[in-house]
Structures are given as C-alpha cells and as structure tokens.
Symmetry: C2
Subunit: 153 residues, 2 copies
C-alpha cells in the first residue's frame, strides 16, 4: 500500500482519530476524542442538549422536560456543559429570579452528528430488540459455515 494524500472523508478521519487515541496512551494525557465522548455519553447530557435544541429553557422548564432527573444532577450537568462551551447561562434579575439556558454555536454544531446518531438509534432499535430476543430464545441455532465449530457451548 502506497500512502496517498490524506483522505478527508468521515471514515478516514475516524480511523485517524482512533489511531491517535491508541497512541495518546491513556493515563496522564486523555485522548481528546474520548474526552468529548465521555462528556456527551453520560446519563443526562444528551437529553439536555436535545431539549435545548428545541428552544431555550429555564431551569424549572428543563426539570419538567426531563422528569426523572434530580436537581442535583440537573445543576451539575448544566455546569459541565457550560464549562465545555456547549451551552450558555443567562441570569435575569427579576423577582423571582429566572435563569435561561441555551445552546451556544458550538453546542448547536453538535446537533448534526448527534442527530445522525439518534436517527440511527431510532431506525435500528427494532433490529436490536430482535437480536436480543433471538439470543434469549434460540441462542446457538444459526451458525452455518463448515470451517467453524458452532459458537457458544
């Protein structure tokens, strides 16, 4: 294989990001890709980003919009997203006080790849459920290639 000019399609970029991830070598220096994925991979960030993509929300609105989050985690996740520059916090000195959160341009730019992922999940969760059901029921039936021994057990 001769190495041509660096490819710039998403798959090639992903492969390079992964190789960089390999060389970054865990402990001291965190891989930037992994760093970002950890942030949006937590329990609430993605839900809050999607909620704020629909429209700006006040603290209480967000809480009603995501009913099963505690105020503790709501605050903490908002602070984390804010410190990463994905959302902005706007305080209005009304009485009672009101605070509005909205996506920044950076946060908005995340919507496109995020939407692709959510869209995939939406399209394929049926197949995933079937795969789980297949494993629960039949388990080992489907193996067909002569070179292999049957899998599992």
């Amino acid at each position: 294989m001769t190495d041509m000019e660096p490819l710039d399609d998403p798959i090639s970029r992903t492969v390079r990001a992964f190789e960089q991830l390999q060389s970054a070598e865990g402990r001291s220096a965190q891989c930037p890709v992994r760093d970002v994925l950890d942030r949006i991979g937590d329990k609430w960030s993605m839900l809050m980003i999607i909620a704020l993509a629909l429209r700006p929300h006040r603290f209480g609105e967000l809480h009603r919009s995501i009913p099963d989050i505690s105020k503790r985690m709501l605050t903490q996740t908002l602070r984390d997203l804010e410190s990463d520059g994905l959302i902005s916090r706007h305080v209005f000195a009304t009485s009672p006080p009101s605070v509005e959160y909205r996506l920044t341009p950076l946060g908005t730019s995340l919507l496109t790849p995020l939407a692709a992922l959510v869209d995939w999940a939406d399209r394929h969760h049926g197949e995933i459920s079937e795969a789980r059901a297949r494993l629960r029921d039949g388990g080992e039936a489907i193996e067909d290639e002569p070179q292999f021994a049957a899998s599992r057990q």
Copy 2:
C-alpha cells in the same frame, strides 16, 4: 409552515425521537433511543466497535489493541455487543482455540453516524479546551450582567 407531509431530515427525525422519548415515560418501558445510546455510551463499546471496524480481531488482538481494558470488561462488553447484534463471534476449533469477532451488517451501519460524531469531536476539541481554560482563568470576569439586564430576549 405547513406540516402536511412529515419531514424526514435528520433534525426532524431527532425532534420526533426526542418527543417519543418524552412520552415513553422512563420507569417501566425504556426509551429505545436512550437504550441504544446507553449501550454505546459506556466505557469500552465505542472503542471496540472502532477497532473491529478496521478489521476482525481475535480476543487477544483486541486486548492488545485496547491495552488498558481488563479481560473481565473485554468479555462483558463483547457479550453485550453480541447480544445486541452489533458484532458476531466465530469459534474455530483449533488447538489452542481461537475466537474471532467481527462487525455484523448492523454494527457496520452504526459506523457512519459514529464517524460523524468522532469527526465532530476531533474538529472541536480545541474549542472545548479553550472554553474550559476561559472558565478556569477568567472565572467571573466574563459574566456580563449578573444583576443587571432584566430584559428578556
């Protein structure tokens, strides 16, 4: 805006998926989108999917490819991904035994949205680092009107 025909662009689908997520109502029935995102959002799944996207791997190869994973988590994550139909497991009855893992078509179909996300992370981690640094340094300096502008907009 006429909402006669349902829009089918990724953003519209994402909005609908989110609304479905809202109505699905947490406790008993898990939202399918959330379900999928939980799976690939864990500590190792994404790394293993990317590794298997490059080529099929045997158990030991995968272990060397992701050095800081324990055999326990390697096995567990492989089983989870297999039960979701994202990867397949092929046992060769050689001596010593060898087992190969590869992406299924379903798993391969995840690569496109995943690549979009990794690509975003790769492109924007600089901005994120700057945002964090800004917060550490300036702290409260940048905050504009903590008690001032009560006007909403």
